[in-house]
Symmetry: C2
């Protein structure tokens, strides 16, 4: 997975009063990011967890996503948790995992900019946007969009004022040095270069 | 430490060709974030590392920063690495650690919005800004500002076009749901609430 997909929203949500955030893995222990540089700890494994108020599925580049969607116990667990979750959410290509699990059938959803055809092929209706809400399903665009979605979730889980304070707590007043953060703004040449960067940085 | 302080720029820089990113700790192994929810792995310990092109010191709320600045071997290591680094950088209150190490004396620098008096007291010249460069020292504002600074560093380490592609690779086209990400925009009441959120979420 892409570490920031999980850590961005986790950082937001773990500041909310009464909220407990856990990284959950197939096994407990080290989960290395998709670049191979850096890793997080899964404190719980899927077999330990029967119920969640919020399920958030991060994405990633490379073979990790394929490994998840072809691992039947994980897909079954996602469907099981979704059956009683208040919110089922994703960041980046995490929405493809939700779609493969059959949860986004006919629903408006978003994903990483280069993955929209896969999302559509799996039955969702692709909508561009930093995050897209369809009932209890909230999907975010690529990687950094998880922070925007996290703050939106914070306003749902707590209230708008608390979410605003949370945004200040993370000093989230972004000033990207360039205006190339979306495929439309970046253009085809930077799109090709971005995909090359992703490919060469996969471990 | 605050996980996002480290993971944000790590995610940016680990996409650059030829760049290797490592999380470095006092000891190898689990480094829990300052909320207690979630942890990263330190793959190297300071005693393993004699030289870095880029040193990035993350910040954090709570007692962690105090523990670092009073741990003489860590402070000595920071000064030692800085002596040969190309860039010495920080996110959030990480700049206080650089200032305690004596590295920001008389230099323009930034930090988390609520920590500027400490930075000034330790001899730096506080400048508001998402990131501030003084020669080889680049300091970022709070938490999420590490992503902005990471992209700026990417343009220095690689080139501007690669950094622009990197911004697209992370789909970093932020749309914060609120306009409360800086203390000026948020106002005094949200400032108090944000500090309360930080305090109650510290483990």
């Amino acid at each position: 997975m892409t570490l920031l997909d999980a850590v961005g929203p986790a950082e937001v949500l773990s500041r909310l009063p009464g909220v407990s955030v856990s990284f959950i893995g197939r096994r407990r222990g080290v989960v290395r990011g998709d670049t191979g540089h850096g890793a997080v700890i899964a404190d719980l494994r899927i077999d330990d967890v029967d119920r969640l108020d919020v399920l958030l599925v991060p994405g990633g580049s490379g073979a990790g996503g394929t490994a998840v969607v072809s691992h039947e116990p994980t897909m079954r667990w996602i469907r099981h948790i979704d059956a009683t979750s208040t919110w089922t959410t994703s960041v980046c290509t995490g929405s493809l995992i939700l779609a493969y699990a059959g949860l986004l059938q006919g629903l408006r959803a978003t994903t990483y900019w280069s993955a929209k055809d896969v999302l559509t092929a799996k039955g969702a209706i692709y909508v561009p946007g930093r995050w897209v809400r369809s009932g209890k399903y909230v999907t975010a665009a690529g990687v950094s969009a998880g922070i925007d979605m996290g703050l939106f979730l914070a306003s749902l889980l707590a209230d708008e004022v608390t979410a605003q304070a949370c945004q200040l707590a993370l000093e989230y007043d972004p000033e990207p040095p360039f205006d190339t953060g979306s495929p439309d703004k970046a253009g085809p040449e930077l799109q090709r270069l971005a995909l090359r960067l992703l490919e060469q940085s996969q471990r």
